[in-house]
């Protein structure tokens, strides 16, 4: 795509996101849905950093999403009621966990990598599920609230004002998206692309492939944990379902639906998926079958995703 088009696309995305709280209610949506789309979009974009740009298939990202969420919830509930501190704790816990598990799986490839990430992800699910005296077990962690953020000169009341919370999420999203875009444009990001395109050649060129995959994994898990923190804040609640493997699958399907290998693809995928899920689950109890069928249909008929198809049309 020409450079000008790309600029225009970026501009359009930010314009839509910035104005969303004002037009969402007009078309039958609500502000929380907008926040949820941003949060899931950040998680899916973080996954895409690994999946689309490094070419490594992780099916266990929900674990770090959930760790961020639990870290946030437990900090506010048990330690100290401060939103930034809670997010910091959540992100640090999740990133450290990812960094420790990383060396075990960075040597693996393909399906094997996917299987191991799923299995390691389930460890945290079981901990959250079994250790009920701390994590609340199956019922999850409730009876806590996100706290207004004090800047010294002003206070952002994200607790009572939906729009304020939306813009808080958008600000975090923007910083993370910019950081990912920056990383992808750096020599490090270019190296990841080289590994994706031809791992053997990259290795011959003297690139330490396993270390790069480890770094990409940790970065990806870092951003997914930021999304997890905000997910817990969104409904002042977290339960083990945030960590389960079906959550990881949701991130992957969002990425594929929007278009892997394109920067904004996961955002579009998250928006379509969540709007659809919102609609289906309010109309039928059997939303699970429909979501499952949706997975199957995407894989069979729509594997390139929305942006993949548009990109192809433009190219031809």
């Amino acid at each position: 795509m020409p450079k000008l088009d790309k600029r225009a696309a970026d501009f359009a995305v930010w314009a839509v996101l910035l104005s969303a709280p004002f037009w969402l209610p007009l078309i039958g949506g609500y502000v929380e849905l907008g926040s949820r789309v941003l949060i899931y979009a950040l998680a899916a974009m973080a996954l895409n950093f690994l999946l689309g740009y490094t070419g490594v298939l992780s099916f266990g990202h929900a674990a770090y999403f959930g760790l961020g969420g639990y870290g946030t919830a437990m900090t506010i509930k048990f330690l100290y009621p401060s939103t930034p501190l809670a997010m910091l704790v959540g992100v640090v816990v999740a990133t450290v966990a990812a960094a420790v598990i990383g060396p075990l799986i960075a040597r693996l490839r393909g399906v094997y990598f996917a299987m191991c990430t799923i299995a390691f992800g389930q460890v945290f699910y079981y901990i959250a599920f079994q250790w009920s005296s701390v994590t609340g077990g199956d019922d999850g962690l409730s009876a806590w609230q996100r706290q207004p953020i004090h800047f010294g000169f002003a206070t952002l009341d994200i607790l009572n004002n939906n729009k304020a919370f939306y813009y808080f999420v958008l600000a975090v999203f923007a910083v993370c998206a910019a950081a990912m875009a920056f990383l992808l444009r750096s020599p490090f990001g270019r190296t990841l692309l080289a590994i994706r395109e031809n791992e053997r050649r990259a290795r011959f060129l003297g690139i330490p492939v396993d270390q790069h995959i480890w770094a990409s994994w940790v970065i990806s898990c870092f951003f997914v944990s930021v999304a997890g923190c905000m997910y817990a804040l969104l409904s002042d609640f977290i339960d083990p379902r945030a960590i389960r493997w079906d959550q990881s699958g949701t991130f992957v399907i969002m990425t594929v639906l929007g278009g892997m290998r394109s920067f904004w693809g996961p955002l579009i995928g998250a928006a379509i998926y969540l709007v659809l899920q919102d609609y289906i689950s309010s109309h039928t109890e059997n939303w699970m079958s429909l979501i499952g069928a949706f997975f199957v249909l995407i894989v069979l008929f729509f594997p390139r995703g929305v942006l993949g198809i548009i990109g192809r049309k433009v190219a031809s």
């Binding site: 799986i105 699958g249 199957v296």
Partner: protein
């Protein structure tokens, strides 16, 4: 104390037998087709539910024989209609597809048979304890272990001595050459998928007699089955079998001394294997 140890070790072995049965099916499909079948737990549940429906007509033994074949039939159909289209593509897509299938099957069984746990009749003479000292040693448990042993033995006989089995093993090593030698690899993969699903169905019929019957009955078995494959080594069926029994026994022994860690121990074993020997105990080097 001896009683407690024997009880838990035996329990662990039974669970391990289930893991192994499920993991063998998963492993067969993974080795030949490169597909991780997330819906395996769903097929297991279908096996249990079909048996439940058939018992009033065929009796326990009839259902035990017929139900796994029906499940295998569904498996053949699913492979023919859906999974076949994804061979040779990024493994991501088959993962997502079977993921969606798992959702559909879980919801479908809930729709047909209800969300409540269903009572599952096993013949009364089988549920009696065999000895008063080891009260937990019911006939059904011994019978399960025997049947799983027979099934696994039959699987290895099929793989080693029948034309189909030899072709499956050859295809696992080099599918292209097998195809060049005039074997219809589409049919081969189809039958192989059916065989794997048959094992899931059989595990479903047996497991429902012990664990009860809910739409999520397969969920608790599928993750340990993955670990059994990883520990045993990708690409090796004897490895998968050993992995299943090993993690079952390990979690049984852990239950005696530190019950809350019985789930954690299998993940620790997986981590240990990945550190020391990333390809798994019996895995081939450089396969994945």
């Amino acid at each position: 104390m001896t009683q407690l140890v024997v009880f838990n070790v035996f329990n662990g072995l039974i669970i391990g037998a289930f893991y192994a049965l499920m993991a063998l099916g998963l492993s067969l499909i993974l080795n030949l087709s490169g597909v991780i079948n997330f819906a395996h737990g769903g097929f297991l549940a279908i096996g249990g539910y079909l048996a439940y429906t058939l018992i009033p007509y065929l009796g326990f033994w009839g259902a035990l024989v017929v139900s796994p074949f029906l499940v295998a039939g569904i498996g053949l159909l699913v492979e023919r209609l859906l999974i076949r289209r994804l061979y040779g593509r990024d493994p991501l897509y088959s993962l997502l597809l079977t993921f969606g299938l798992a959702f559909m099957i879980e919801d479908g069984t809930r729709l047909i048979w209800g969300a409540q746990s269903l009572p599952y009749q096993i013949p009364s003479w089988l549920s009696r304890p065999l000895s008063t000292e080891f009260f937990f040693l019911t006939g059904y448990r011994v019978f399960m272990v025997l049947l799983v042993t027979v099934a696994v033995a039959a699987l290895f006989v099929i793989l080693n001595y029948t034309r189909l089995g030899i072709r499956i093993r050859a295809g696992t090593l080099d599918l292209e050459t097998v195809s060049l030698l005039g074997v219809n690899t589409r049919v081969l993969r189809n039958l192989n998928f059916g065989l794997g699903i048959y094992l899931a169905g059989l595990a479903g019929v047996l497991a429902s007699g012990m664990l009860g019957l809910q739409p999520t009955v397969g969920d608790n078995l599928i993750m340990p089955s993955f670990i059994a494959i990883i520990v045993g080594g990708l690409g090796s069926l004897p490895g998968t079998l050993a992995g299943g029994v090993l993690i079952g026994a390990a979690s049984g022994i852990t239950t005696v001394f530190f019950p809350s860690a019985s789930e954690a121990v299998i993940y620790v074993m997986m981590a240990a294997v990945l550190i020391v020997r990333p390809r798994g105990i019996f895995g081939e080097e450089g396969r994945f």
